[in-house]
Symmetry: C2
Subunit: 175 residues, 2 copies
DNA sequence: TACATTTGTAAGTGATTACTCACTTTTATG
DNA sequence: CATAAAAGTGAGTAATCACTTACAAATGTA
């Protein structure tokens, strides 16, 4: 990975996340990354290839986080850790998550294998906690996470996260 | 509103929702709507104008639904009605909602005034129900709605909605 | 019927798009 | 140091983009 290759990925991620994949031209990426346009195609074959390189790079970080949660033994602590996830997104990772959330709505699927895995972990935890319908509970939890991440990515995480986290956790402490 | 004008709006909505605004060309819209490309610009000035016409048309339906909920007097029934909302989206309206959800992530804002209004209604209801932090509760509810709508629009509403709705409602029945 | 307005078309327009290619510069390796 | 491979450039390319324009057909109105 050369310096220029890194510059391309970094500025492309920012532009794809903020302005959208189709609204971002390879010319603009090159200009902002201080790189000739041809270099993008030398390294990533085409625009789609650049996108995939960005996604692959981010996937590794996510994988690690999710696997750490799966290692937790206490099911109650697992649910709590999952609830906290969206609120722990580092500002440096915002562009990556924003990109993922925009791509979700695209025809072509760039599947995030991680989320499905996390939901089986959640289902398992809910089962151990004696929930009546663990699958439905996991689905609801996924909805909450999805909504929370959306709010955080769009509005920023400036409001009091603790109050929100507390309100959510309370919904899983009555049983 | 002529027949061809209606055809343009209908096919543009479908393409914008499924493939994205920037990924959809006016030429493709015209071809699929069996209309000359020039007619789009005759009626809607430019591509952006076509998008706004689509959004304005849909806004009216939403407004009516939200105002009906605000009329409910029992605060508990208000929360329940709001929870049910995403699950009541008619398949005919999927494209419109899908378009709204993709536009959320765009730089340029096309604000949906309705949601903010609905959240003040929810905050008010939570207050009457004696919740400790009504604002936070409304925010969490918005997250759940947002996540629920996302799942429904992306995966379809084929799974057992009743079980999910029940699981969510239970989280608001303990107080 | 006369004629003005609206609706619709087809063939353009320049600008921009993703991508190529011939070429130069830098780096790695023996 | 020699030389091959990799990295990088910049000026192309055809295709597509949103949009215009000159004109024809349909419709409304008196």
């Amino acid at each position: 990975m050369t310096i220029k290759q890194d510059q391309i990925i970094k500025t492309a991620l920012e532009l794809f996340a903020k302005e959208g994949f189709h609204a971002t031209s390879t010319g603009k990426i090159a200009r902002m990354a201080n790189v000739s346009e041809g270099l993008i195609f030398r390294h990533f074959v085409n625009k789609e290839g650049l996108l995939e390189a960005i996604l692959n790079q981010g996937q590794q970080t996510i994988q690690a986080i999710f696997e750490n949660i799966a290692k937790i033994e206490d099911p109650k602590k697992i649910i709590e850790a999952i609830i906290e996830l969206p609120f722990m997104i580092h500002p440096d990772e915002h562009n990556y998550w924003r990109l993922l959330y925009t791509l979700k709505w695209q025809q072509k699927k760039y599947d995030r294998v991680g989320v499905d895995f996390l939901m089986t972990v959640a289902t398992d935890a809910f089962e151990k906690l004696g929930y009546e319908n663990p699958t439905a509970e996991a689905e609801v939890l996924e909805m909450i996470l999805d909504g929370a991440a959306t709010v955080i990515l769009l509005k920023g995480n400036r409001y009091e996260s603790e109050v929100i986290i507390k309100a959510i956790k309370e919904k899983y402490s009555k049983q």
